[in-house]
Structure formats: structure tokens, C-alpha cells
Symmetry: D2
């Protein structure tokens, strides 16, 4: 079991309140002040303390309702026609976990939104449909199921589905709650649709070459010049890596989507990853700082998060809060399973706040509550 920390030690606040102290506190209060020792033990926890709880959103439950939104409101009315997923403990900030927002957006053939931008960063993971596209800073990007697409901090963007396509559904991920909390978000509407400055898919066709960078392109943005990561390249890469690597005991074959110009996360405030759980794989449990939203991209299995089991299959979405133990299981003995995730690791890492701990008992596996 976890170490119990005791506040009855030197170095923690252990003041017994008295009438004199109470009067003192009142006096401080009138001056916009307080006595630190009355709050110290609360604001200085022994270990990281998450405010979210683990949650699972089953796509079977949500799909009908998501599609129904396309009958209830138009994209023009709604701005974006999205059902968002909200953590029971984070309703006040509209977050799915920690400071991360996620939602499911639906767009019908021939529909398209107007362009906008915001200081918050955004990403998409494609769930259903054909003929979908996004336009990022004048570059039209077409996408397919399980593709991962970014629309970074302050980049103009808009989405749509070709008239001869099929209704598209994708998961949005944004750090709106974080950027609001940091009191730095903004929003602007583009007057109409963006002009298409460059050939369709210029970004992925220029920057998807493994270990090759165009010699004559200048890129001065703080995010990846690669706007789309194609499942048809990503999945084979996972299979190749699985041939020659044991993988991580906690995560199987885990790869981060990266900015090919830096090797770092795709955007400044959110990262994303794809992991492959081999047939029958049952990882060990660990916990670490950082908040994660997962979507099952392939296969079926379950995760034990904070001692509870959450079963998932393709398109189900779930979250793992900061500093909560978690382990993943592929329920198939013959097929691999893949979990997409996005997270705030760029924030946690850049601010020096990452720490990790392996589950110390029971051969690394949690006992179900």
C-alpha cells in the first residue's frame, strides 16, 4: 500500500487554534491576508493530488446522440456541432480530465464550417466517414479513419466533408480549460473560408518521409510542420517496431507523434501518442503526473484505472487522471489492440513536473476494488 504521510511532524503546520489566534486571523482577513499555517498542509500535499476521476465513454451509447445533433442544429448555428465529454469532477471547466477538453464532432457530406482560430491548441482523431478534410493555415488536409490531425495554437482552421463523402465523425481534443486557466485564450473568426494557398496535402506529402526533411523549406513556427499523421503509415510502423523491441512494461509499444524538425511533441501544450498492445498483452501498473484522454483505435480490451476495470473496444474513449495507477489489457489472444491518446505531457515536462511511480505490489498489478 501507499505510504501514509503524517502531518504530525516537524516541518508541517501543527498549530492549535486559540481565541487569540482566531482574532488574529480575522484581522489578517480584513487586509487581504491570512496565516499560512491555516492552509499550508492543504495546499502542500505529500503527493500529487488529481481533481478528476477516471471515466469511460462508450461509443455505443454516444453514437446515436452525436449523429442526432446533425438533425438538431446546423454547423452555422452551433459554430461547431460537437458533443463534448465532461468529467464528473470538472464540469466547472468543461474538461474531460485535468485541463483537457474533448468532444465528438459530426459533419455531413457537403457541410463545411467557417474558419476560426484560438490560442488554445486543437487536435482531431478520425472515427468514421469518408471525404473529410481540414484546412490549416491555407493548407487543405484530407483525412481517413484513425488519422491524427493537428490545428495548432493560433492557426486558422476549418473542417468539412466532400459532397460525395460519407458523414464524418471525429474526436476533438483541445486545451481550452488550460489556456483559460492561464488566462491567455482568445478567439477570432475568419471572414469566410481560407484561400487554399498551397496544393492539397502539401504538409503531409512534404514532411512524412522517415528521416528526411525538405532542405529548402523555412519553418519558424513552434509546432510541427506535419499536420497529419496517417494511420496507413503509423500502424505498419508500430508493427515494425514490435518486431525488434520488447516494449515498455507499462505501455507495450508506445510511440509519440512528433515534430520531425525537433523530435519533440507535436504542439507546445498537447502531445499525442499511439500504442500497440500485442495479442494477450497485460501491462504492469504505474502512475505519473499528466492527464490523458484515450481512444481505442483497434481491438478490444480493458484498463484498470485506480483499482477499477474499464472495458473498451474500438471508438470508446476513456481518461486517466494525473497520478492514478493504470494498466492496460488486450483481451484478444490473436489480434493486437491500439490505443490513441492525447495529453498534457509537453506542459508537465517543460515545467519540470513529471514524476512516475511503478505499482509496488502484487507483481505490479492492481487488485480490483
Amino acid at each position: 500500500m501507499e505510504a501514509k504521510h503524517n502531518d504530525d511532524v516537524i516541518g508541517r503546520a501543527r498549530v492549535t487554534d486559540t481565541p487569540e489566534l482566531e482574532a488574529y486571523y480575522d484581522e489578517l482577513r480584513t487586509l487581504g491576508a491570512g496565516a499560512l499555517w491555516t492552509v499550508a498542509n492543504d495546499i502542500e500535499p505529500w503527493e500529487p493530488r488529481p481533481s478528476s476521476i477516471p471515466m469511460l465513454w462508450k461509443y455505443d451509447d454516444l453514437r446515436e446522440l452525436v449523429l442526432k445533433s446533425s438533425e438538431l442544429v446546423t454547423p452555422e448555428q452551433a459554430g461547431r456541432r460537437v458533443v463534448y465529454l465532461v468529467n464528473d469532477k470538472r464540469r466547472d471547466v468543461s474538461a474531460a480530465v485535468g485541463w483537457l477538453y474533448t468532444g465528438i464532432q459530426v459533419t455531413r457530406p457537403g457541410e463545411s464550417t467557417s474558419a476560426h482560430r484560438h490560442r488554445a491548441s486543437a487536435l482531431r482523431f478520425i472515427m468514421e466517414g469518408e471525404g473529410g478534410y481540414t484546412v490549416v493555415d491555407g493548407n487543405k488536409i484530407t483525412f481517413e479513419v484513425n488519422d491524427f490531425v493537428i490545428t495548432p495554437n493560433s492557426a486558422w482552421h476549418e473542417h468539412g466533408v466532400a459532397p460525395d463523402g460519407k458523414t464524418c465523425v471525429w474526436q476533438d481534443g483541445l486545451d481550452i480549460p488550460l489556456v483559460n486557466a492561464l488566462e491567455a485564450n482568445d478567439y477570432a473568426v475568419f471572414d469566410g473560408k481560407q484561400p487554399l494557398d498551397v496544393p492539397v496535402n502539401q504538409s503531409p506529402l512534404s514532411y512524412s518521409a522517415p528521416g528526411l526533411i525538405p532542405a529548402d523549406k523555412v519553418w519558424d513556427k513552434p509546432y510541427s510542420p506535419l499536420f497529419k499523421y496517417s494511420w496507413k503509415q503509423v500502424y505498419p510502423a508500430l508493427l515494425e517496431a514490435a518486431k525488434v523491441n520488447d516494449g515498455n512494461p507499462f505501455d507495450g509499444i508506445l510511440m509519440h507523434y512528433t515534430n520531425p524538425l525537433t523530435g519533440g511533441h507535436v504542439m507546445q501544450t498537447m502531445g499525442a501518442s499511439m500504442q500497440l498492445l500485442r495479442a494477450g498483452e497485460h501491462t504492469k501498473a504505474h502512475k505519473h503526473t499528466g492527464s490523458f484522454v484515450y481512444q481505442c483505435a483497434k481491438g478490444k480490451g480493458y484498463s484498470v484505472i485506480g483499482g477499477k476495470r474499464y472495458d473498451w473496444k474500438e471508438r470508446d474513449i476513456f481518461c486517466v487522471p494525473s497520478w492514478v495507477y493504470h494498466e492496460h489489457v488486450n483481451l484478444s489472444g490473436t489480434e493486437d489492440a491500439c490505443l490513441f491518446s492525447f495529453h498534457d505531457l509537453p506542459v508537465i515536462e517543460k515545467l519540470g513536473l513529471y514524476q512516475e511511480k511503478a505499482y509496488p505490489e502484487n507483481d505490479g498489478h492492481q487488485v480490483l476494488d
Copy 2:
């Protein structure tokens, strides 16, 4: 005046609720979901939206109460004997502004605290006294009035005053609210006092040489190896710079305390600065993202923050929230004035969230409310 943004445009949510929609929302709610368009305009503001208000804490009001704490509780009982300053709109997170905590700590001759460490970063700015010291990672650092001292993320630290010293008062600055919000804070108590591994003041005596770095020291920490910035070096440097620079229209002669190994901020999550307002200087107003806590280190004057005037003199503390216009005035026509500040610019900058705007009217000066 500021541009008014109108939500009645394409690209913003403009849905009129109906009974059918209400029923739909109820259904979503049961699944841990919601319709984005019901919250979108609120969570995506047109401009950064601060949650704090400007506040001023006059040292004349607080000094007696701060000293009184040394009669009411011992350092052992209190952990740290500190009066903390709290923003009227941020009492829930014990913050002075944004996600920054500040307090005033008092230590009497011969007193010393036990050592501890936490993931949150801390800094001190010395207000009164003689013979004070801090011990950071085994290096004892002595300090004087207006010195600036850091005790970074996860560094062991403890404070005290020599038996033949005079009662010391200093301002503490920490990012406890931020690190709690990011669900990453922790705390540990050192068993007793740290052994003094190296000569007193090794850090400042090794790393304070202008433009010189010890060739044979290895430093692998993500924060400055210089733990103290001495007023007796800082103030002359400001005077020298003022001889040959016009200074910044919004801030006079403004310098950041930096890590001499990188030229960057002193710590990963908090920076600090010192600025000199020349005799009679009245800066222009601007606003920018990032939260700031100021202390007047020298002279007297006032700041206009969000259209209100806040008068300050030596030792007064005030705050400027994110995205609130502010300008500074030195009320003396013959003496310079100096403002120390600490802030979350390292966070704002690393996450790509900095933006700035000059006050567009009245020759750059706010009209008082």
C-alpha cells in the same frame, strides 16, 4: 476603447434552445456529456480573461501583524511563520494573483527552520533585517535587504537568522497554486538540518562574475546555479544600463534575473525582474498575458492598473493580473524608484501563450476610473 466582440456572427454558437434541445441536453448529461454550443462562447472568450483583480498590500498595514506572528506561533508549530497575501477573487486557491502565491515570512535572531522540499518552486526577496540565510541543496547563502534568492523545484531548503543578527522579514513567492492545479505538487521533510557540503556562498561567489562561467563545474539542473542576486551588484548594474539605454516605454529600465548558463529565466515556472524608473518617469500603459507580483524596493510612486491608481512606497506589494492595462509612475523628481517583480512568464512563454497590447488611446495613458 477596446473592440467589442459580438457573438452574433458566423463562427460563434447562436442556437436558440427548444424543448427538444433541452431534452437532448438532459440525455447527454446522463452520459457524462454535453452540447458544446451551450458553453462554447463562454469557454472561448474573444480575449484573455483574468480571474484576479488588482490589489495593493501596504506594508505599513501589515508589518505589525507580521511581526506579531512571531509571538503567536513558533516556527516549529507553524512549519513556516508566514502571513500570506490573497487575492479577493482567488481565495479558493490561496493565490495572490493568477496561480502565484506570496507571503511575508518573519524569522527572529537564532531561529531556524527544518529543511524541506516541494515540487513547487520558491523565491525570496529580502525586506528587513541582518544575518539572514538560506541553505539550498547544502549550500548556505547569506542575504541582505533587497537581495533576491531562489530555492528551486525539489531543492532542499531551510532558512534562519544568525543569533547576533536582527529579525529578518522577507517576501516569499511560490507557484504552489499552479503546481497544485497541474496536479503535480509534492512535499518532503528533511530529517533535521542539511549538512553544509560546500563553503558558504559558494554559488554566488562562483557564478556572479559578469560574463564568466567556471570552466570546470558541471551543472545538470534545469534552474540557475546562481542562488542569490545581490542588490549591491544589481542596483549599480541598473544605473549603468540607464546611462546608455532609453529603456522600455512601458517599464523603464527592466532587467530579468537570469540563469547565467542559459540566459533564460531563473527557474522553470517562475521568473523575476527588477526595474528602475528614473526620476519623474511615467511609463505608458500596456497589457499582456502573465501574472505579476511586485514589491517596491526603492522610492515611491504609483501604478495605474485597470484604470485605478495604486500608490506604493518601499516594501509595499501589489499585483497585476493577466491582460490588465498597467503603467508606472515615479513620484520623485530627483530620486529613482525600483520595482522588484516575480511572475509566471516562463510558463506563458514556453507554452506559446504570450501576447501584448499597448494602450491605444490618450497618448498611451489610462484615464482613471
Copy 3:
């Protein structure tokens, strides 16, 4: 034509020698000194001054001789059985151009070398054969024609061909002349063959995913973790890029092989590139600092280098010295042509010595001498 610089101006040495001065020079010479003005104009040229000349090595001429070496000496006797290519003006330092060495190595089925390492960096570009491999720091890497392989600074390496393979020929590139000139080269012999620590091709199978990096691998080396860049990935990437880019006026579709963890050159002292000249493409001429060795990987054409035409086809090797005008022509109207190159751009760029100039006349095309 190029601007002519005249030394008869203020700021250049213009001293007329006299008997008194001659005596003075003699006196200086005895003290290990001299008068700067006697050498200044020579050692401070108006423009970069190459010491190499352009050269072309036709594979038709060399192939027989290269293969013959495998009858004349064994790998054990020769250390490495290599015919090296040497610039007529750089025989003293065994360089093909500038400070770059290149050679053609032949290995027969079943042969393998012992392992060694050196401070100089090395790379290979595969010209012929089947079943070839290299072992870099314990990782066996198999390769095919037109693959590009690195064996970086101080990495143990050895090469061989499988017993059931076909005689392999590849081009070696090293910066031996540079590292010797910088008085920093060294050499060590491994006692026997390296143990194979990891699965065959672990490096390329782990790091060749476009925009994906293994999350759990730690890499602390100053060079690319990707040891092989496969032609079967590189060539399609060039074709993709050519679909959506106009390319560079001087180089067509030019891509640098990069370290996927940094986006920078593959090694600290040598970089490598692949470029595609579209059917009928005739680039414009420019000159820049940095020395280049080219090998034609596909197609046929010619380059005009310093006013002379050099015709090349697959496997031919040629060089472009620093600050010599050059332009490239694909002679086919229907097929693309590809040029591999390696160069010292990492050195030139890191030391702040890069400059470039477009050919200013005749619509950017040199007039043949």
C-alpha cells in the same frame, strides 16, 4: 562577371618594401614573428577561396579496378579493401574535395572485416550487390542498393556480406582529412567481432516511422539513432514531395537525411542529402560555402561546375568544391534523375560560415568555358 576586388584601397596592405623594411623582416623572422602586412592580402581574400578543383570519377572506368582489388589483397591485409578517390589538388591530405575523403569498397560474399572505430565519422552509400550488412554499436544493419548508412564518430563498426549474397560495392565517405587537420583523430581496433546486442535492424525498424518516436527509448548520443535510410522509403518520399512542391531553383526536390530526434544533420561533422531532378529539369547556378561529393543514384544528366560540363549516369561520382558555381541537368525528358550527396554543411553551418550566391547573369546559367 564577378566583381573584381582591388587591393589598392585603404584597408588593404599597400606597403612598398625598402632595404630598411627587409632588414626589419629578417629580424622578426629570427624571433618567430613577421609583419602582417607582408601576408595580409593573401590570407584575407575578398571571397572564399577553394583549394580543390571539380572532378568526375566515372564508374565505368573504376569498376574493374575496384573489383580487381578483391583479387589482389584480402580484407585482413588491407584493413579495408578500398579504392579511394582523390582530388588533384588535395593529394597531400587524401581528400576528394575540401576535407572530405571518399572511396569505393568491395566485399565478396562471406567476407567480413574486423570491427574498429575512429573519431572521424563515416557513411556509406550502397552501389551494388546483395546481402551486405554493417554492424554499428552492436546493431546489425542489412542494406540494399541506394540505401544510406551511417557509422558515426567513435561508434564501433564492421561490415560484411552474407555467404549467399552477391559481391557488394559501396561508396564510403569520411571526414578523416578534417579530423586530422583539427588534430583530433584517433583509432581503435575491436578485439574480434562485436556481439550482436539487439535484434537485426532494430535501429531502422524503431526510428523510420514518419513523425513517430519510440516513447521509451533513451538516446544520449550526438548523432542520429537511425542508422539506415532505405531507398525504398526515400525514393517514394521524393516523388510525394515532388507532387506538391515546386522545388528549389538550384537543386530541384532536395531533402536532407536527418536525425529524427532533432531534425538536424545525421552526424556532427557530415551531412547527406538526396535530390530529385524531374524529367527535363535544368536548375539554375549558384555557389556556396561547403564541399560536396555526389553520386548519381538514378538516371543520367550532367552538371556544369565552374564553367565546365561533367556528364554523369548511375554510380558516377563527382565533387563540387566550396564557392564554385554549379547547376544540374537531367538529360531525360521522361525519367527523373536522383543525386545522392554528402558534405560538410554541419561544420560550415555550426561555425557560422555559410554563404550563398546565385549566378548573376545569363538568366542564371553559366556559359561553358
Copy 4:
């Protein structure tokens, strides 16, 4: 003694020439080629191999001749009136050691040079005089004895002495030989004298504050914004550091002049250092890659370089070639001694070529030849 490496091992070339091979070599030669095994052991040394020898230039010998140059030629005729010091083994490239040039420049009161710039970087160390100044990119910098001044890659610069000053003598250091070798040097003459764009000494007055950086200055150059490092700040800093540090066994208290914005070397291709040898200090011997030119700035002593003793006192200049053992001795038992040096460590380090070895015998001290 050093390990002797034997070429008679597997992995080294051990071919016995035959008439057949001789014929083969001749054939290769006609094609601009050669057999690697005929040169391999020579171009791949077991250990770094310096081309320079240690040398000492006594100022007592040179001073008269240096001053005499001011009678023999004018600055206008000479370009720069400099006596340069040249290594007996590097006369072909006008280098004092390795690829570093050094000279002694004399300027009389009222004299000034015209402005020029070059791709090579330059630095000065002031030896004698009063009223000297340099102008770097429009910023006039005044200097005194033992000050260190930089005029970086491609920065316009010119020098002079005030009419009421005293004849100034300073040491120049440049990497002309290196930049020539890399075929990248250039030269341009400024038409007349530079306009003084900013107040005198703006650079040192703005950037000499320990641990403080101007918040509002933008600096996009790849070299230090601090153009002068004043002895009156440097020497006290060495004394402070000596109080709390044992120093380096090979170098005493050794500090690098650094770019305060990066903590790195002052320029891209040359660095500089100052070291203090405490009274009676006798350092241990080591050798490392990189070439060094020293000037004694204070005191007297000797260095043992490559087994020979070289005695020095104030203003004497000497060199240590790459990979030659050296140790330093302060001959005074009561006074400290200071050695200024400049070197190519930025090159050696950035290219991954640094290595170091302590003298393994005799308690770390060389036996004099």
C-alpha cells in the same frame, strides 16, 4: 609512458607491395584514385597528432620591434600595423598554433584605422596604453590593460587611440587560418569610419550585470552581445571564486568568458578564458584536443609543455598545441598569477572532437626532457 600502438594487427593495413600491386597503383593514379591501404595507417593515427610545436614569445624581445613598426609604416599603408607570431611548423598558414593566428598591434595616440569586416572572428587582449577603443557594429568600446574585447564574424570593426591617450599595444587573435582552410573567408572594406549608432560602451554597460539581462533587447546574432570583458570586473571575480573553490587540478581557477545570453563561448569559432594560479600553485599535467594561445596577464611562472619548460612573466605569449601535455606553475609564493588564453574549443566541442587525458605517471607531473 604512452602506450605504443602497433600497426601489425588485424584492422590495420599490412600489405606487402609487389610489382603487380605497383602496377595497380599506377593505374589507379591515372584515374584520380589510389589504394586506401597505402595511406590508411598514416591518415588514421592511433591518437590525435598535432602539427604545431610549443613556442614562447618573450615580450622583452618583441616590444621594441613592435613599437618600431609604428615608425616604419602608417596604419593606412599597412592596413593594420601588426607583428604576427608564427609557429615554426605552421608558417605555410601563418598560424601561431593549429589554425589560430595571433599578432601584436600598435596604435599611437590620435591614430585610427578604417573599418573592415571578415568572416574570420577576431579578439583582442590589451597589453599597454591608455585611451584605446574599438568600434564594433557602430558601438564604440573603450578599453584598458587586460580587458578582453571581441569583434565577431562579419561585424564591422575599427580601432584607434584618443589623441590624448598613450600608445596602445594589444594582442590580436583570429581564426583566419581555420576559416581559410574551410574555404569560407571573405573581406570587405567599410567606406570611411562607422557612424556611432549608440552611446559609447552601450554593450558592456548593458550586458555586464551578473545574472541580469535587459528584458527589452532583442539579440539575434550568434555571438555574445557583450563586446568587452573588463579586467576590473574579471580579476575580482577570480578572487571571489578562489575563496570557495578548490579549482581544477590542471588549471587552478579557470573561467571561460561567455555569452551571457547562452552561457556558451563568446563566438562561434573561438573561445577565451582567464585562469588564476594561486601563490605557489603547481598544477598537474594533462593533454586534450584543441589549440591554445596564452598571454600572461599577471605575475610570473612557467609551464611545462611537451616535457620542456617555458618561463613566462607579464605580457609573454606562448602556445600549447593539441594533444600535448602541459602543466602550469606560479613561481611566486605570495602573489597570484593570471593567464589569459584563447582557443578553438567552440570548434572542437561542437564537432564532437574533444578528448582529454591526465598525465598518468610521476604523480601527474612531467619529467623535463
